[in-house]
């Protein structure tokens, strides 16, 4: 028994069984047996799976349809993302407040200007 995907404990036999069901791409194997769905997102098993497909279907590795690479690059906690997003939201809020203040001031000066005009 050879382990192919360490995150999800997927063996070579399971990958071969998925190929026998008609899978020809790394993404299909991932969806059927979960190889590459763990915390490392296929960093270890992607190439191994490609090699097994290549061997079973007698196709060069270069011709195997590549999987999609998606963010994040490594596991990131919500808190960390929120820390960054919180700053951004805060900055946006301040900018909006400033803009509102400016607009209010403008409105006041316009009003007084209009009043002054009447008086004259």
């Amino acid at each position: 028994m050879k382990i192919v995907c360490r995150c999800q404990d997927i063996t070579e036999e399971e990958v071969i069984a998925a190929i026998r069901q008609g899978a020809t791409t790394i993404d299909e194997i991932k969806r059927l047996v979960r190889a590459g769905m763990g915390p490392c997102q296929g960093r270890t098993c992607r190439r191994l799976v490609a090699q097994i497909i290549s061997r079973e279907l007698k196709k060069p590795v270069g011709e195997i349809y590549p999987p999609t690479f998606r963010p994040p690059n490594r596991p990131v906690p919500f808190k960390l993302i929120m820390a960054e997003y919180g700053e951004q939201l805060e900055a946006e809020k301040k900018a909006a407040e400033k803009a509102a203040e400016k607009a209010a001031k403008k409105a006041v000066t316009k009003k007084s200007a209009a009043k002054g005009g009447k008086k004259a």
Binding site: R31, M37, P71, F78, I81
Partner: protein, 381 residues
Amino acid sequence: MKTSFDAIIIGGGILGVSTAYELAKAGMKNICVIERRYLASGSTGRCGGGFRQQWSTEANTRLAIRSVRRLEHIEEELGYKTEFFQGGYLILSHSAEETAQFEKNVAMQRRLGLDVKIVDRADAKKINPYLDVNQIECATWCPTDGHISPFLLTQAYANAARRLGAEIHLWTNVTGLMKKSNVFFVMTDKGITYETPILFNCAGSFSRTIGQMLNVEIPVDPYRHEILVTEPVEKLWNPMIIDFGIGLYARQEHSGGVVMGMGDPNEPVGTFVGSSMHFMFEMSRRFTLLFPKLGNLRIVRQWAGLYEMTADAQPVLGPVDEVENFYQANGFSGHGLMLAPAVSELLAEQVLKGKPSLPIDDLHVRRFRGKKEFHREKSVV
């Protein structure tokens, strides 16, 4: 290679393969599914995987109840493990307005025979201990809703259809359609032209394009919906949580990862399925707002898929007036997986017997012709 079939289905998503299976099961021979890439490579393979019966329109609720009854026995019927799990659906309300709508929905759903009820904060806390119930007013709870693996269900249907003699041609893109004296000619990028008297359009986000090839207007527009999954952790909760107010759904899958997605009203029409940083930020904000204790959970992957939206967020189903024997099963507006078991069965009945056992006339594409205002399904994230 055989190129002449009794029925051809365009699209190898859940609708395509389940329709192929139902037709074959009802005794039809010579069925072919044509798929652009591989099985479930479109919307099906990117979806959240939930199935629910809590809808705001009667048509959707009826279909969904029937679908879940089918799903309860689908593993035995198809002989394949699908990670089917009835963990329930908890739908959260934030305002008196929303609660009033939910009360209406629950009354209608109960009239149709569904076991569903409104629960208060304390009960919601029991159902999901991680939820910050101070955020909500109440929730609706249906214990027979749940979730399933979209890939495994698609594969299960595909394997069963193949056993019954159906063919599935992958990596074949339909480039043109023509109808001449009751025969459809399906042209593909492989250079092969298929022939069939009956054609199904299960092309999901590309249904409009397929319709245009026969000069039939199918009003289905694709919108990107993003989704992410966390690292696997021990069991947190059973149900799918939906929040229309904040715009979020979250479920813990069989292997332990929490899958969550959200709706973005600013998303433009298009078939782009790339990832965005905005989604990562916004999803984190919404999730930690509802589940403040889970801030240390780590995200491992984000991806995106397409909702094939119609103007009333209900599917386009059945024949069309313009072209005879051209059947539609598309425009599911993000809910194809959960409706497919019922819809495919009804469609097979419509084609082979002329009359489905549950009327689907309300979902005929003619409802969109020359109309601008629709009674829209409200329960959509």
